[in-house]
Symmetry: C2
Subunit: 248 residues, 2 copies
């Protein structure tokens, strides 16, 4: 079995944003699809994990887009594992068009949890290592993200957060806030005007705790420097996710 998996998607016109471009949540779903399919055909997918009462959990994701696929465009996603540790594995992605022109790259960090205890569990390192690839992924690794919810804003003002309560449509198969929904709700902190004039160059998100049904969330956005925003989703004063968005 090849180390690198290749999956093709179409930016369906009925799924794009108002600009006719693929959205980051859509792209996130392509990445999760590619990761799932790559893992499944190599014996460590959703069902394999389920049989061992474990599940993959996305811990961090960084996506950098040079250009966004437009309505009707084909998107070829290549994915491979570039690092395996005891509790985490790192997976890279390259997104390009049919001619091989690059749309962007992504990096992701995954952990496995025990489905009953929801605690991290050790990975089958030997199995994963068989697929390690040193194919280059020329974007920064996910790093530390500034706290958008802190009170020390550069401009001295504390922006008031947007409130949101977790609903039925937000839940994933594990009964928690879907990884892609975190991104959707955070991007909605930006106005349509911003998207009319600019593209997001880099999105980075860290999943710190699981959002549950009915949870009251506070969504924060703080401009760190021009076109560089720290975002956070908090519950009871503690962040359950932090993100950073850099606009082009």
């Amino acid at each position: 079995m090849e180390k690198i998996g290749t999956y093709t998607f179409v930016a369906e016109p009925y799924l794009t944003d108002f600009r006719g471009k693929a959205t980051l949540p859509m792209i996130g779903n392509y990445l999760i699809h590619a990761a799932s399919a790559h893992a499944a055909s190599r014996g460590f997918g959703f069902s394999d994990m389920s049989e061992q009462h474990t599940a993959w959990v996305l811990s961090r994701l960084a996506v950098e887009m040079q250009e966004y696929p437009a309505a009707g465009d084909k998107i070829v996603v290549n994915t491979w594992i570039d690092e395996v540790a005891r509790l985490f594995t790192s997976r890279c992605f390259e997104l390009c068009d049919e001619q091989g022109n690059v749309y962007g790259f992504a990096r992701s960090i995954w952990a496995a949890i025990d489905k009953a205890s929801r605690r991290p569990t050790v990975l089958d390192e030997a199995r994963l290592r068989a697929y390690l690839s040193d194919r280059p992924c020329p974007i920064d690794r996910p790093g530390k993200i500034l706290a958008a919810e802190s009170e020390s804003h550069t401009d001295g003002c504390l922006c008031s957060p947007v409130s949101y309560t977790v609903k039925y449509s937000d839940l994933d198969i594990n009964g928690h806030l879907n990884s892609i929904k975190y991104i959707e709700h955070l991007l909605d902190l930006f106005g349509k005007e911003k998207f009319e004039n600019q593209d997001i160059q880099r999105l980075e998100i860290a999943y710190q705790a699981e959002g549950r049904y009915g949870m009251d969330l506070s969504l924060y956005k703080k401009e760190i420097s021009e076109d560089r925003f720290a975002l956070a989703i908090c519950h009871d004063g503690k962040s359950i996710s932090r993100a950073m968005v850099v606009w082009k």
Copy 2:
């Protein structure tokens, strides 16, 4: 070219709800995908319409599910046109598994609008009629939907609506509230507990006006009789969409 188009989907585990079942918004996307592909390969798809500065607009949708596909299940969607008129066309769907066991059926009514004026435009009846099929679709046509926003509740109480403001992620390629997002926001009026114990047997929705960015919406839910709910999305006191949900 066959009159009936057949398209296969997979209820991807990362897209199902907390029960591990396909959601109605997911199913709605499959139907729109099947409709788009069926139309495109017969010369009246998204691009053909765009060239004539027109676009298809979903006017009504009714979905009846006997059983919901579970995570990993294949879903075969058959779609065909059963009626063509000057301004509207009616399209049916049958959803089944790979063995032909029926999951459910759907009916939809589509209009074409001029992209500039947003007004209805006459259809290319001759082209559409060539694909008319009399394959049976054993569910009721979309009909009149009671007003959930009216004040005369059977139990004498007026439920207070849920407020929602249209955001970036809600917009479709035409810059309006995405048809599937209407459904998502309406279903979120029901609690997780309802979905834990019951399935939706029939969802019917009428799209009356286009939701726009920043619009303040009021979402209403009114129980008409046991497990039969009228729903509505209103703006400025007028409904832009009405729906009905029947629980099994």
